[in-house]
């Protein structure tokens, strides 16, 4: 159990090797932790608003975070210094490095007069980071709430507030494929280890598994509460789902009704086989350790849990 944030945790992620765990919250500074013992390595100070999203590149050299202060910042992981800053017109909701980490994508909110936009930037050198993005795409109908790179840097998959999933070819800024996956907002999307499938978590109380290439619907995992995050185990046929009652009504309900447990489902049979208690607020983000032997969860209750588990 890690206490390091003063507000609700919004997103967490491991680096490729899994020795570090990055977390961001509605307070201004993202943190980085040793995943082995939960010791805090440091934080990234500089944002002026709730940090909504984060990502780390595969070499663990660069860390990126987007916040409600209308900026996307790039940091050097080794010393925690800011190396890039992009100012946009509205909150940055999602950000992601591509496979090669030469490119990164981020999306901004539909806010006041601003329309949601997806932008692609080149992150190979800090100079590029400040200039105009390589490509920019306006998404006027429903804002992007989750974003993933397809394999090999060519496509971007976005999950939207109205439950739609769209696949874009970012080289030509064109929509390739689009499906109505959920009935309500998609809160999170995470790739499997090899990247041929991904899991979505939606407010409509379900999580679904899709094939990356043609967005084919594979599996559905049902719960009774909004799902905020879902993650696929890299080693086992397991999916972990986190969520619970909506944050706005949490104060009026006891933990027993809220259903704030992390719930394990079998990837193929869609059956729940285990729950892990702990949080007393909804879980906002979940991530499996790359070795599949532990997972981390961050919740509305400001606590980060590291759970190790053994499968028989």
């Amino acid at each position: 159990m890690l206490h390091g944030h003063e507000r609700a945790i919004t997103q967490i992620c491991y680096n490729r090797e899994g020795d570090l765990l990055f977390s961001c919250a509605k307070d201004v500074s993202p943190n980085v932790w040793f995943s082995l013992n939960g010791e805090r390595l440091g934080n990234f100070a500089g944002h002026n608003g709730a940090v909504w999203c984060l990502d780390v590149n595969w070499q663990t050299t660069m860390f990126m975070s987007g916040a409600a202060d209308n900026t996307l910042k790039l940091w050097d992981v080794s010393n925690g210094k800011e190396i890039g800053n992009i100012e946009v017109m509205s909150s940055v909701r999602t950000c992601k490095f591509s496979y090669s980490a030469n490119l990164a994508a981020y999306s901004t909110d539909t806010q006041r007069k601003q329309v949601c936009e997806i932008s692609i930037i080149d992150v190979r050198n800090g100079d590029m980071f400040g200039s105009e993005p390589i490509s920019r795409l306006r998404v006027p109908d429903s804002k992007v709430t989750a974003l993933l790179w397809g394999p090999l840097d060519s496509t971007v998959i976005t999950g939207h507030e109205n439950g739609r999933i769209t696949q874009w070819d970012m080289r030509v800024c064109k929509e390739i494929n689009s499906i109505d996956a959920h009935t309500e907002a998609i809160n999170d999307m995470q790739m499997s280890k090899e990247g041929y499938m991904f899991v979505t978590a939606s407010k409509d109380t379900t999580a679904k598994l899709f094939g990356t290439e043609d967005l084919v619907h594979l599996k559905t995992y049902r719960t009774e509460r909004p799902v905020n995050s879902a993650s696929i185990s890299p080693t086992q046929d397991h999916v972990v789902l986190g969520g619970g009652q909506e944050a706005s009504v949490v104060t009026t309900t006891s933990t027993r009704v809220g259903k704030f447990d992390a719930r394990f489902y079998h990837l193929v049979f869609e059956e729940e086989f285990g729950r892990v208690k702990g949080h007393f607020g909804p879980i906002n983000s979940l991530a499996f350790h790359p070795d599949g032997k532990s997972y981390a969860s961050g919740g509305e209750d400001e606590i980060l849990y590291l759970n190790f588990y053994l499968w028989l």
């Binding site: 490729r16 090797e17 899994g18 040793f34 082995l36 013992n37 010791e39 595969w58 496979y99 090669s100 980490a101 030469n102 394999p151 090999l152 840097d153 090899e194 990247g195 041929y196 499938m197 094939g211 290439e213 594979l218 009774e224 027993r256 009704v257 990837l267 193929v268 049979f269 790359p290 070795d291």
Partner: protein, 697 residues
């Protein structure tokens, strides 16, 4: 030929002439006559069918006339009043054109009247609705269409045997009782009847028998012994039954809200608060098999449902009125003995579930004590009466086998009059128990000082349970009865958080539930008072035993709770069988079963030889379980295989792309955690985990 041509020519000439003429003089009428030899192929009916149907005929006009017989015979001095009453009653069916009262020489009416309406429909409506209507004690209207008289006068002399009706196969309404494994059925409705599902509680998983969207517009109800399923609609009620749930009967009662079956399923009582707007009575009693309305009532004010209470054999039904008790009998639907029983201050009554005895109680009035009376019907003899003092309220509870009656009496130590209302101070509670099966019906009493939350008889047997105590500290007490003995306190569970009692329909087992809060459930075997299981179903609003007492369903209904609606099935021991959470789940009802046909001796015999039977059932259960698990294994293998196919093809592609991936990540293989060992710098980090100090002597 030449001739014909000539003729044509002349015809043409005529034609042109005519046209010319017309042009000259437009006022002159043209010739519409048929040419000679024209045969009219179109009949008049085809051409002017709509007009012809309205062609006047001789009997016309008489269709609009009705004859009302049985009106009071009055002299000229009261004639105007009579006229007023009749006109008021009959003008609501349509416009009255003409009224004629035949009179004797001295001006007395003859007891019948002719009324002419503006159209035949109004006349027909007046006849159907007011025939056999009672004006007062001595006058019942006999209303007929004027044309009916002619119809019945002209009955042909030679009788023609009626055509034999085609044999209509009766559906087997009781097929569900022949289910070899005695599985029970239950109905589930979601979001106000869309959809309605019928399930069979098979082991290990229930199977769905039927699902229909919008089957009902409000709710569904099983008849008391399970033959019919009633659905409520805007227009009325429909009854369904048989293996395919076909419509058996329908009753038209607009905007119906409540229905009640008589205990033997002979009659149905329906209530619609707004029926007068549709020219129907508010309460209608129907004969289920015939599908006809037998009697209707128009009670004043809001109805307390059920309005009528039926005796166990459908022979009598009774209604409580102001200072009176009205008992009606079937099939005449008239008052028993032609008058209501006058009972001053009657407050409530209840029929015995097994005998034609009813119990009622009369409130205390200044110096007259409150009374509980047991009355036998139809003789109306008081078989037992008991006077009680300091009573503010009574509740009557019959035991389901009719062996005992318990009257819960709320008594006070002092009474204050405040603002015209009685205020009672120092309440305590008595349970007066009548032993119905013993000679001269002896009585026992149990007194409890604490507030009572629930009372329930064991349906079969001689135990009852009471929940009493302050809300923070509730106790559940079980009492037992024996012939010629005082009730004995068998067991008391203290500090329980439950507020409702649910006995198994076969007795012995009971579920204590904490409804509408934390949903704590306790399953208790009252033979030795072991708590078999304590568990919970959060927010539970309904607990339903199946009719055989083998399963319990706990449900959270949308009508009472907004979240986590659904139903859970438990065994009678409190072992969970399945959790079914459904959005917008409203209600689950078990299909009732008729009472057993086995005699008490036969039942005892079965209980004695239970071991022989149970071995047989157990082996059957085991077989079913292995079959079921085999099915599950097969199903899983199939889904796994399908998924593996997808996975292998996807991984194949992934491997093909390895070259490109390597290019993208500077030829560093990152596919596996340990695939890039030469690039890893091993770093040994020591963490301080904990320090232990042990003192060694």
């Amino acid at each position: 030929m030449a001739k014909k041509k000539d003729a044509e020519k002349s015809a043409q000439a005529q034609e042109t002439e005519k046209v010319a003429k017309e042009e000259v003089n437009e006022e002159e009428e043209c010739n519409f006559d048929d040419p000679k030899g024209f045969v009219d192929k179109i009949s008049d009916e085809e051409l002017l069918g709509d007009l012809l149907s309205e062609r006047p005929c001789e009997t016309d006009g008489f269709d609009n006339v009705i004859v009302i017989d049985g009106i009071p015979q009055v002299g000229p001095e009261r004639f105007e009043k009579l006229q007023g009453v009749i006109t008021r009653m009959y003008s609501k069916y349509g416009t009255i054109i003409n009224v004629y009262y035949p009179k004797t020489e001295n001006g007395h009416t003859k007891g019948y009247v002719f009324i002419e309406y503006s159209n035949a429909q109004s006349a027909l409506e007046a006849v159907t609705t007011t025939d056999n209507m009672r004006l007062d004690k001595n006058h019942t209207f006999l209303v007929n269409l004027f044309t009916d008289f002619k119809k019945y006068e002209e009955i042909p002399n030679d009788w023609e045997p009626p055509e034999p009706q085609q044999y209509k196969e009766q559906r087997d309404l009781h097929y569900y009782l022949l289910e070899p494994d005695a599985y029970d059925q239950f109905s589930v409705i979601c979001s106000g009847g869309n959809p309605v599902q019928i399930w069979q509680n098979t082991a290990p998983q229930p199977t769905k028998l039927e699902e229909r969207a919008r089957w009902t517009e409000m709710y569904v109800q099983w008849s008391p012994i399970g033959t019919y399923l009633a659905t409520l609609h805007f227009r009325g009620i429909a009854l369904w039954g048989g293996p395919a749930f076909e419509q058996i009967m329908k009753f038209s009662h607009t905007e119906v809200q409540f229905i009640e079956f008589s205990p033997c399923e002979n009659y149905l009582v329906t209530y619609s608060p707004n029926a007068d707007m549709h020219n129907q009575s508010r309460v209608i009693m129907w004969d289920i098999r015939r599908g006809e309305g037998m009697r209707s009532f128009d009670p004043e004010g809001p109805a307390i449902w059920p309005m009528f209470r039926w005796s166990k054999d459908d022979k009598y039904f009774a209604k409580i009125g102001n200072n009176m008790l009205s008992i009606y009998e079937t099939p005449s639907f008239g008052l028993l003995g032609k008058q209501s029983e006058k009972v001053c201050g009657i407050r409530d009554f209840a029929w015995s579930p097994t005998d034609n005895i009813l119990a009622y109680w009369v409130a205390e009035d200044s110096n007259i004590p409150a009374r509980v009376v047991l009355m036998e019907i139809p003789s109306r003899t008081e078989v037992r009466a008991n006077n009680l003092f300091n009573v503010c309220d009574c509740k009557m509870h019959w035991q389901k086998s009719g062996d005992y009656l318990c009257v819960k009496v709320d008594r006070y130590t002092r009474c204050k009059k405040e603002k015209g209302e009685n205020k009672y101070i120092g309440l305590y509670y008595n349970f007066e128990i009548f032993h119905m099966r013993e000679k001269s019906i002896p009585m026992d009493s149990v007194e409890i000082k604490e507030p009572i939350h629930a009372f329930a008889w064991e349906p079969v047997g001689s135990k009852f349970a009471i929940i009493h105590g302050e809300t923070s500290n509730m106790n559940v007490a079980f009492y037992g009865l024996k012939t010629g003995d005082k009730p004995v306190l068998l067991k008391k569970f203290e500090k329980r958080s439950c507020n409702t009692l649910f006995w198994s329909p076969v007795g012995q087992f009971i579920v204590l539930a904490d409804l509408r809060s934390n949903g704590v459930l306790e399953f208790i075997d009252t033979a030795d008072f072991t708590v078999m299981n304590t568990t919970d179903h959060y927010g539970v609003s309904d607990v339903e035993w199946d009719p055989t007492g083998r399963y319990v369903v706990t449900a959270v209904s949308l009508w009472k709770f907004k979240e986590d609606t659904g139903y859970w099935i438990w065994t009678f021991q409190g072992r969970i069988l399945s959790r079914n959470n459904m959005p917008k789940f409203c209600q689950l009802l078990w299909r009732p079963r008729p009472p057993t046909l086995l005699s008490v001796e036969q039942q005892k015999e079965i209980k004695k030889n239970l071991k022989n039977y149970s071995a047989q059932f157990e082996s059957k259960d085991r077989m079913r379980m292995t079959r079921a698990s085999k099915e599950v294994v097969e199903k899983r293998a199939a889904t796994m295989k399908k998924f593996e196919e997808f996975r292998t093809s996807a991984l194949e592609k992934w491997r093909e792309q390895k070259e490109r991936r390597l290019q993208m990540r500077n030829n560093v293989d990152t596919d596996e955690l340990d695939s890039d060992l030469q690039n890893v710098e091993e770093e040994v980090v020591e963490f301080f985990i904990k320090e232990e100090t042990t003192i060694i002597n």
